[in-house]
């Protein structure tokens, strides 16, 4: 569906050159759901704009949906949908007018356009707003309208630049439910950008981590976390003595010897892949050594850990307040007794 070689974009800003995208090689197969994850200014939008013919590459090449972005831009545009990071619906226009106009821009017959507009309004919970001017909509409604417009032509390949920015978690879930349904119905290939870690983690089957215009990792979220991050198991003991017993036992076992932090106190912290799967074995080992924790907690590896380990920086320090507010949702607590019994 997409094939790029050395895709590069350099902007000139005054006398300075801005290397926004530096030699991206990419292959996306039909039906994939791919997310570009990276901090603000990483080059996500610029990459998408090149793939959608809005910007011409400074060097390198790209074929999108079977056409060359440089030599056959019109063909590319006919085969894709694009939901940009700004508001695609004009503020002075009415909701229904914009949807129909979008249909006519994609050369749909008026009847088809009407039908799809009605369908999308319903699916994206915008019904009742048909006659409202776009500028009177809330941020979330406007974003859903943008998505509806991007779906009017039922594109085989859809690009979404930060699709859920400004939406509440519920709205985001709804939006994704619908996009995924359309994807299943139409067999769409999806390429999106996001700086929401959870969104990339939950939605994408493949995450391309991009930083300073370069792809630094490209795999399924699960694989990325296995390769570049660890789950963290924290065991808390009733007394320091008991914790020391536990540490000794772990140190003596080659599977765990280099996996835990030497730290004084009641807590023992272990970094490991597959934390939930490892926990019973660990508890078993400790039990045998005579140490039984009061509590055990697993914090699953996140894509932020991946990014942190790859770049030394956290994605959460990034820009918007809502990037931080999402919190580390993946933390989960296990009950020790249950865990021990199960093992």
């Amino acid at each position: 569906m997409i094939h790029t070689e050395g895709l590069t974009k350099t902007f000139q800003r005054g006398k300075q050159l801005v290397h926004a995208v530096k030699g991206v090689d990419l292959d996306v197969a039909p039906g994939e759901l791919v997310a570009f994850l990276g901090p603000n200014g990483a080059g996500k939008s610029t990459t998408l704009r090149m793939l959608t013919t809005l910007l011409s590459p400074s060097s390198g090449s790209a074929r999108v949906a079977g056409a060359d972005v440089r030599t056959q831009p019109a063909l590319v545009r006919r085969r894709i949908g694009y939901i940009g990071q700004g508001n695609g619906a004009g503020h002075n226009y009415r909701v229904i007018d914009e949807l129909r106009a979008q249909g006519s821009f994609h050369r749909l017959a008026p009847a088809v356009s009407r039908e799809r507009a009605a369908e999308l309004l319903r699916a994206l919970q915008l019904n009742g707003l048909e006659k409202r001017p776009v500028m009177s909509l809330s941020g979330g409604q406007r974003r859903r309208l943008d998505v509806a417009m991007g779906l009017m032509n039922h594109p085989p390949l859809l690009f979404l630049d930060e699709p859920s920015t400004g939406m509440d978690p519920q709205g985001r879930a709804n939006l994704w439910e619908h996009i995924i349904r359309m994807r299943d119905d139409l067999g769409m290939t999806l390429v999106l950008t996001t700086h929401y870690l959870e969104e990339a983690d939950d939605m994408a089957e493949r995450v391309i981590v991009i930083d300073h215009g370069t792809v630094i990792a490209d795999d399924s979220p699960g694989r990325l976390k296995l390769d570049h991050a660890d789950d963290v198991i924290t065991l808390t003991f009733g007394a320091v003595d008991e914790a020391d017993v536990a540490k000794r036992a772990l140190r003596a076992d080659q599977r765990y010897a280099d996996r835990f932090e030497e730290r004084a106190g009641e807590a023992v912290v272990l970094a490991t892949d597959h934390g939930a799967r490892q926990l019973p074995g660990i508890l078993h080992l400790l039990e045998a050594a005579g140490a039984r924790p009061e509590a055990a907690a697993i914090r699953e590896a996140t894509l932020d850990d991946v990014f942190l380990n790859l770049t030394g920086r956290s994605l959460r320090e990034d820009d918007t307040p809502d990037a931080a507010e999402d919190g580390s949702a993946a933390a989960r607590t296990a009950n020790t007794t249950d865990g021990a019994d199960a093992a």
């Binding site: 569906m1 094939h3 292959d27 197969a29 039909p30 959608t52 013919t53 809005l54 910007l55 011409s56 074929r63 949906a65 079977g66 019109a74 063909l75 545009r77 006919r78 085969r79 894709i80 694009y82 939901i83 940009g84 990071q85 700004g86 508001n87 695609g88 619906a89 004009g90 503020h91 002075n92 226009y93 009415r94 007018d97 914009e98 106009a101 979008q102 006519s104 821009f105 994609h106 050369r107 943008d146 417009m149 085989p156």
Partner: protein, 275 residues
């Protein structure tokens, strides 16, 4: 990578709508419709725009008495001489504004969305220019009818041809205004400064408001290189009820050249903005 399949699936959409011209026309209609619906939904501005030429007429007509028999207006009565000028002026003001709405759309994402759609670039320019031009069709007819009791003979077919000619010219001017909006992106004041400082000399140096025949040589020389001069002359001839004249022909040539040149500049500017 199965580009093959995709190529196949989309074989149907390549040429569906009857070739380039057909596609250009339907694209233009799509763009025009999007813009004109906004105008039609706002009756107040519509009525106001119809009144505007009447206000011009009411303010100018009483002053025209002094010009009767003046040099440079030929056989026409002062009003007959002046009327086509007003219509051309409305056209220049109207289509010259084409780019101003774009300024706003470039700040939101809606301009980008339109560029990512399969619309042909020429039709984006033409559709938007025609939206600014559309009210003029009604305005011109209204103003002509109102002038009838004041002693102007209406030549309806000629007036319609005159409007058509202005439409062709207006597309070119609209495309230039659009290009200007892209070039001055994010600097609205610059758009207006350039737009105004080009419009007024263009108008004055076309003999639209006052006859140039009485002006100094240099003015007449400059006017000869101003396409608007030929348009204004052709419109006057048409409103007097003449078809077969070289003046009308030159007006048509000037309109066609402005249209082609404007679209070429417009399309080029859109392409360059992707660099």
């Amino acid at each position: 990578m199965n580009a093959q399949t995709i190529e196949h699936v989309h074989a149907a959409d390549e040429d569906g709508t009857g070739g380039r011209i057909g596609r250009f026309l339907s694209d233009t209609r799509a763009v025009f419709t999007r813009e004109i619906v906004v105008v039609l939904r706002d009756p107040f501005s519509l009525v106001f725009s119809l009144l505007q030429p009447l206000v011009f007429l009411a303010l100018f007509a009483p002053l025209l008495g002094g010009m009767v028999g003046g040099d440079g207006i030929g056989d026409a009565s002062a009003l007959e001489w002046f009327l086509p000028g007003v219509i051309v002026m409305i056209c220049v003001f109207g289509t010259g504004m084409t780019g101003s709405n774009l300024q706003y759309e470039m700040q939101t994402g809606s301009y980008e969305r339109i560029l990512a759609s399969p619309l042909s670039r020429a039709s984006i320019l033409t559709g938007r220019a025609l939206k600014e031009f559309a009210p003029l069709v009604v305005q011109a007819l209204v103003i002509t009818l109102v002038a009838v009791p004041l002693g102007v003979t209406p030549h309806l077919a000629h007036v319609l041809v005159g409007i058509l000619l202005l439409g062709v010219f207006g597309i070119g001017l609209g495309a230039l205004s659009y290009a200007l909006a892209i070039a001055t992106r994010g600097k609205e004041w610059m758009f207006w400064t350039v737009q105004q400082s080009l419009t007024f000399p263009l108008l004055l140096l076309s003999g639209m408001m006052l006859p140039l025949e009485t002006g100094p040589d240099w003015m007449r020389t400059v006017a000869r290189f101003n396409p608007l001069t030929y348009i204004v002359d052709a419109e006057r001839e048409l409103f007097m009820g003449t078809f077969a004249s070289s003046t009308v022909l030159w007006g048509a040539v000037a309109a066609a050249l402005t249209c082609a040149g404007g679209l070429a500049v417009g399309i080029r500017t859109i392409r360059r903005s992707a660099r």
